[in-house]
């Protein structure tokens, strides 16, 4: 009966209660949503590159190698000589190897020289292949395949010419050797989207007339001549490697790290990605902190609502006291009310979360390459909800305690 009355009491304050529950619902949805997004981002991030066992580069930091070889961020500190590359490639434990040559750019996008094998070997999101939205993989020396973001940002179509700039963020252009776009890749949510891919020889070809970062004076070598030339690169930037058997990963890694004639290193992508995530994870913590603050705000709002309501409910409390309710009962009623509102808010919030996920999932995938799986609540989520309820009870100890004091101090008649 007391519960029924408590419910009617809440119903009589319906609008306030509903708004309070709604605030809590939004905050709960936000916290859980941020958590789901964080997990999705983490998984998508860890899946930036998959099925590649090792990434080889000149000796530097593991994260740095990952950054330039996979994310194409930052400067390339050093190269791998073609000789070393071929020696490694010839090892029996190497199943496949794809060379990568970086250093040039087109507008804000990096240009990557590689072999056609790249399109077979590069996988993301647990083994997905790169697919062409349009056109075909390059077959001529001066052909290029571009990522989805490159095409979208610059409005490129199949057949459009593009000019590669020497270096990164440079105005010196390889104008005499323009490329033609033959293929546009589907969106992947990986750095491939922001890459212009050309043949490994093409990188060599556009540098034939260059020396020490400057164009050699005189007439440039015409493309026809270039096509006839032996364009074997002298060096590459990095290589993706697949081993024969997973057991050989560490042996091969050690062999590369201890390669005698040149300082090289090899990293396991998953490990390096995790390390990198650890660094950018600070942002994730900040996001979480903000959503926690939103929850606290909503709960404080509820406490304030109850506190403000107390003076109007003094009569109610005095009546209950006179009928035999102890101050503890009155305090308990207020706490129960707080918990009830918080619980309604939490349930609403979970509903909001899933509604939001259903709506936002495809969009997040397309726009940001973050795949947020719509899965049940994790134990951690449930713990979060529980924490919200406990926090609600704690915060509402303030009005409840005040009600306790009032019901003791008021005596028989309500005084104002």
């Amino acid at each position: 009966m007391l519960w029924r009355l408590a419910l009617s009491s809440m119903r009589s304050r319906g609008l306030t209660v509903v708004l309070t529950a709604l605030a809590i619902a939004l905050s709960v949805a936000l916290v859980l949503g941020v958590e789901k997004l964080r997990l999705g981002a983490k998984i998508s991030f860890a899946d930036t590159i998959s099925d590649t066992d090792l990434i080889m580069g000149a000796r530097t930091g593991g994260v740095q190698l990952l950054l330039y070889a996979v994310f194409r961020i930052g400067a390339v500190p050093n190269t791998i000589s073609w000789d070393s590359y071929q020696q490694i490639a010839a090892r029996p434990d190497v199943n496949w190897i794809v060379p990568i040559s970086l250093g040039d750019s087109h507008r804000q996008f990096r240009v990557m020289g590689t072999t056609p094998a790249f399109f077979d070997r590069y996988k993301y999101r647990s083994g997905r292949d790169l697919t062409l939205r349009d056109g075909a993989v390059m077959s001529d020396l001066f052909e290029a395949v571009i990522g989805a973001d490159v095409a979208e940002t610059l409005g490129y179509q199949i057949g459009d010419p593009i000019v590669v700039a020497h270096g990164v963020a440079s105005f010196v252009q390889h104008e005499d050797t323009p490329f033609r776009i033959t293929g546009i890749l589907d969106k992947t949510g990986t750095p491939v989207d922001r890459t212009v891919i050309v043949g490994l020889e093409a990188i060599e070809a556009i540098h034939v007339d260059w020396q020490d970062g400057a164009q050699r004076p005189g007439t440039p070598t015409p493309p026809e001549t270039l096509r006839q030339m032996e364009l074997q690169p002298k060096a590459i930037t990095a290589a993706l490697i697949g081993v024969q058997s997973r057991l050989q990963i560490f042996t091969l890694q050690r062999a590369i790290n201890e390669y005698p004639s040149e300082p090289l290193m090899a990293i396991i992508p998953g490990v390096a990605l995790q390390e990198l995530w650890g660094i950018i994870g600070i942002a994730e913590t900040a996001l979480l902190a903000v959503s926690v603050i939103v929850v606290v705000t909503a709960l404080l709002g509820m406490a304030a609502m109850m506190l403000a309501g107390l003076s109007a409910r003094r009569r109610e409390m005095a009546i209950l006291r006179a009928l035999g309710a102890g101050p503890g009962t009155i305090m308990g009623l207020l706490l129960a009310e707080a918990l009830f509102i918080a619980a309604i808010g939490a349930v609403l919030g979970i509903g909001l979360l899933y509604a939001g996920l259903v709506v936002a999932q495809p969009w997040l995938d397309v726009a940001y390459g973050i795949f947020v799986p719509i899965s049940g609540l994790t134990p951690r989520d449930l713990l979060t909800v529980l924490a919200v309820l406990v926090a609600a009870a704690l915060v509402c100890l303030i009005p409840a305690w005040r009600a306790f004091r009032i019901s003791l101090a008021d005596g028989m008649s309500v005084r104002n």
Partner: protein, 230 residues
């Protein structure tokens, strides 16, 4: 049977110390209807709060139905009040969001003893309200706020009487009513109290009501107020 109320050597101060009350001795005889009179601010409501165990004296004792209201732990005090005393306020007796019936049955929730006295709360409540002249429809369905002040007071009487507590305490229950309604209200209240064999302790300013009571007790005769910085 133990007298419904006895007070001995009571000393009480409100927190803040601006008003206090000394009651050397006070007895309400069993079955008596007593009218407590006194000027506004004399401490009548304070005395009722002490008897009902809603506030605690600093010294002395208050016994209700032979049990030491002032000596019990808080929980037991609340229970004693729920069991033994039906309380009627001056006005605003009812929870506004509940029906009259819910209001009437609420004390049973706090007092198993009173709950045991009624066979069927709803029927007992309705027979009380019928005796008090309230239409069933009003009791069952109307929100308390839709009742007139006189009707609300009668619902409060029904609530105080349900489960037959031996003591009814009323703090100026008629002062919000006009003269005709006052007389009618008192007739009904007295009839019910008499029928149940309860004792009645009622505060009133109105000397015209005095002849109806067995005892008229001016507060000044039994209590010494203390005012100012104590």
């Amino acid at each position: 049977m133990a007298p419904p109320v006895t007070i001995r050597d009571l000393r009480f101060d409100w927190p803040g110390g601006r008003f206090g009350l000394d009651v050397p001795a006070f007895d309400l005889p069993s079955g008596a209807k007593m009218m407590l009179t006194g000027a506004s601010g004399a401490g009548k409501s304070t005395l009722l709060a002490l008897i009902c165990g809603i506030v605690q004296p600093q010294a002395g004792r208050v016994d209700v139905a032979g049990q030491p209201m002032s000596g019990l732990p808080p929980r037991a005090r609340d229970r004693l009040r729920a069991d033994q005393i039906g309380i009627i306020f001056q006005q605003f007796n009812l929870l506004p969001y509940a029906t009259a019936l819910d209001n009437i049955c609420l004390p049973l929730r706090f007092s198993p003893r009173r709950r045991a006295q009624v066979s069927n709360p709803r029927d007992d409540a309705l027979s009380l309200t019928q005796a008090l002249g309230l239409p069933d429809d009003l009791v069952l369905r109307a929100k308390s706020t839709d009742l007139s002040v006189g009707q609300q007071q009668r619902v409060a009487v029904a609530r105080a009487l349900l489960g037959a507590p031996p003591l009814i305490v009323a703090d100026e229950p008629t002062s919000a009513l006009d003269v005709d309604a006052q007389a009618e209200f008192l007739d009904l209240l007295f009839a019910q109290v008499t029928q149940m064999g309860a004792s009645l302790l009622m505060v009133s300013h109105d000397p015209a009501l005095a002849p109806r009571f067995d005892i008229v007790q001016p507060l000044a005769k039994i209590a010494m107020p203390r005012r100012g910085a104590a």
